[in-house]
């Protein structure tokens, strides 16, 4: 069937949105956008801004979430991570900017968007007076699974190891159990997009690890995950894409490897010796792309496979090495490098 619609002029305009009883506003539907590598985009936020009174929560944020991947929003408290999630589901309207989730404008087709999303907020958002089962049943009914969704409830609870506690009142749950129940609730209706806002908040390291493993497992069966965290260690190894946020703005976006390469060259090795000057001979050797002697000696190689030969040669020449360390940068280093760069540019927002 085809329906006559009016084209929406300009990003962020929402004619008639929220006016009950009016004809449907121009449905901004269409094929999913695509990332540069051709991957379909489940979420497209382009130049989105949102203020709370005088405080900007999002400032010109652009966030592209590819299908079937884990995107980690990384940033300090107040960076706009939670607001971004709220805008993605249409729970909050942006002041301006272009928002598409599954190709829909969530402000117009909010029900359709939210039905296909599963959200775990920073605070588990559970009903303490209800049992675990009743909490899941409530979600099942709101998401259209009906009043007798026994199978999906049991399956989701079992997946997160909370099945045995379903008949207990949630008020008596530990923080870890509440998080597991919130996670179970988020996947109950088998959503295509999972939005996790600091899901390991308040958990002990073991529980955090288990939760992160479960999140990783979910992308194996095709789910798209957006996870907010300010814990760099959580993003490490989990994220297919990292988006660094600060003061509501995206500073960097890309795979962990891509981002690290922007700040540090590949195949970087730190050397040190009892007499650092003896390392200067490295500069002209085959395969050495760069050499810099400061507090420590930084050498960029064309291939790390050359390292054993280089070390053997230096030792053979009588150089007394005290350190040979291939540099494996972490997200933490990246994060602080970005912040240092921002500070140097005088644009760092206060934490």
């Amino acid at each position: 069937m085809s329906v006559g619609v009016t084209t929406v002029e300009g990003a962020g305009t929402r004619p008639g949105a929220g006016v009950v009883g009016h004809p449907p506003p121009a449905p901004a539907t269409g094929p999913l956008g695509r990332a540069a590598d051709g991957t379909e985009l489940v979420v497209e936020l382009r130049n989105v801004s949102r203020r709370f009174g005088p405080v900007p929560a999002l400032s010109d944020l652009t966030l592209l979430v590819p299908k079937g991947r884990i995107t980690v929003l990384l940033g300090p408290n107040g960076a706009g991570k939670t607001t971004a999630i709220r805008v993605i589901t249409g729970a909050l309207d942006p002041d301006r900017g272009h928002v598409r989730t599954f190709g829909y404008d969530p402000d117009v087709f909010g029900e359709e968007v939210r039905r296909r999303c599963g959200v775990v907020s920073a605070k588990p958002a559970l009903y303490d007076r209800l049992t675990g089962w009743e909490n899941l049943q409530y979600a099942a009914e709101l998401y259209g699974l009906g009043r007798h969704a026994v199978g999906p409830i049991r399956e989701a609870a079992a997946r997160f190891g909370i099945l045995e506690a379903l008949d207990q009142q949630v008020g008596g749950y530990s923080t870890g159990m509440k998080t597991r129940l919130a996670l179970a609730r988020s996947v109950l209706h088998d959503p295509e997009l999972l939005l996790f806002d600091e899901p390991t908040s308040g958990l002990d390291p073991e529980s955090s690890h288990a939760v992160l493993e479960l999140i990783r497992d979910m992308t194996d069966d095709g789910h798209t995950v957006v996870m907010c965290t300010h814990l760099l260690i959580e993003a490490e190894g989990l994220a297919d894409q990292v988006v660094v946020l600060e003061a509501g703005t995206d500073l960097l976006a890309g795979s962990q490897e891509e981002l690290l390469r922007r700040y540090w060259p590949a195949n970087l090795v730190f050397f040190d010796a009892e007499d650092p000057a003896t390392l200067d001979t490295l500069a002209g050797r085959e395969g050495v792309l760069g050499y810099e002697r400061g507090d420590r000696v930084r050498v960029q190689l064309d291939d790390l496979g050359r390292l054993p030969d280089l070390v053997a040669a230096l030792v053979g020449e009588g150089v007394r090495l005290t350190r040979v360390e291939p540099h494996q940068p972490t997200l933490e280093e990246l994060y602080f490098a970005v912040r240092a760069e921002r500070r140097a540019q005088g644009v760092e927002a206060p934490l």
Partner: protein, 301 residues
């Protein structure tokens, strides 16, 4: 400009979405919100035990005590004076009082039929506003507003579900209290006035026609407050300010309906006016609830 719309992915057609945008409510979701709120209320002994005591006090203890005392002390001077004062009642009300009965029986009859009647208004209004005041702001305080804001439920479904969940406890209390009260006064006063005399037609009208719109009107105001204020305590305070005048009006109107007319015409008229106001207030009240308010960020916009 027109263009065909293609739906990107997902199991449902655009037709259904368009219908939804036109304003169709999902009744199942609305009832789900209502059931869940009621389920939590049932589990909240710290709420319903005091409310049960309140209902018991006004529907059982006070009437039983006063009527028993009057019946047992007989036609003493004080009772005689009260009986004489009944002449101040409107003519239609005086005609309903058994003329041949003893002064104590007349007093008991008037107390049973006319004095305790407005209690049927005060008790449910108190209970329903207590429930309604915390219903939306409570979601925000617990953080569960975030869950509802991200859910597919339309805010109107949430609003109406919560309205019903606030209305039902008050009205159920009324009906149950009314039943127990009827039994009580018929057992105590009935033998002296020739048998089962209560409820009178005016009472029936009060319960089924006058009271519900007053309840709905009070709740539509209270839910607006609950959506706007920052804490449950503030909601309770503010709802008291809003509903207290309404309680006075309801009290006065129900008393007038019972006393001022021997026919049900006045009750019908009062009820009709109250229904119109309630429907208008309810139909605009859902606008007070937004997802931003469920999230608790609306005040910062």
């Amino acid at each position: 400009m027109t263009a065909p719309v293609t739906r990107p992915t997902g199991p449902r057609g655009l037709d259904e979405l368009v219908v939804h945008r036109k304003g169709r409510l999902n009744r199942d979701r609305m009832l789900t919100v209502m059931r869940t709120d009621l389920r939590q209320l049932i589990g909240a002994k710290d709420f319903w035990v005091p409310m049960l005591l309140l209902g018991g006090f006004f529907f059982i203890i006070v009437p039983a005590f006063l009527l028993s005392v009057i019946n047992s002390i007989g036609s003493v001077e004080a009772v005689q004076q009260v009986s004489d004062a009944l002449k101040l009642l409107p003519q239609s009300a005086q005609q309903a009082v058994p003329t041949e009965a003893a002064p104590s029986t007349k007093v008991s009859y008037v107390l049973a039929v006319y004095l305790f009647a407005p209690i049927a208004v005060v008790v449910p209004l108190t209970i329903s506003t207590a429930v309604g005041a915390s219903t939306i702001v409570g979601e925000r305080e617990r953080g569960t507003g975030e869950f509802l804001a991200h859910s597919p439920a339309d805010v109107r479904e949430i609003y109406l579900g919560k309205l019903l969940a606030s209305l039902i406890p008050g009205y159920v209390t009324t009906v149950a209290g009314f039943g127990v009260y009827s039994l009580l006064v018929n057992l105590i006063v009935g033998p002296d006035v020739g048998g089962w005399f209560f409820p009178t037609p005016s009472w029936w009208l009060l319960i089924v026609w006058v009271l519900p719109p007053f309840l709905a009107l009070a709740l539509s105001l209270v839910l607006r407050l609950s959506a706007r204020v920052k804490s449950t305590a503030a909601a309770q305070q503010a709802s008291g300010l809003v509903t207290f005048p309404l309680i006075i009006i309801a009290y006065g109107q129900s008393t007038g309906a019972l006393l001022g007319s021997g026919t049900p015409a006045l009750s019908l008229a009062i009820g009709a006016v109250a229904w119109v106001i309630a429907i208008v207030s309810l139909s605009t009240g859902f606008r007070s609830l937004t997802r931003a308010r469920l999230l608790g960020v609306a005040n910062e916009q």
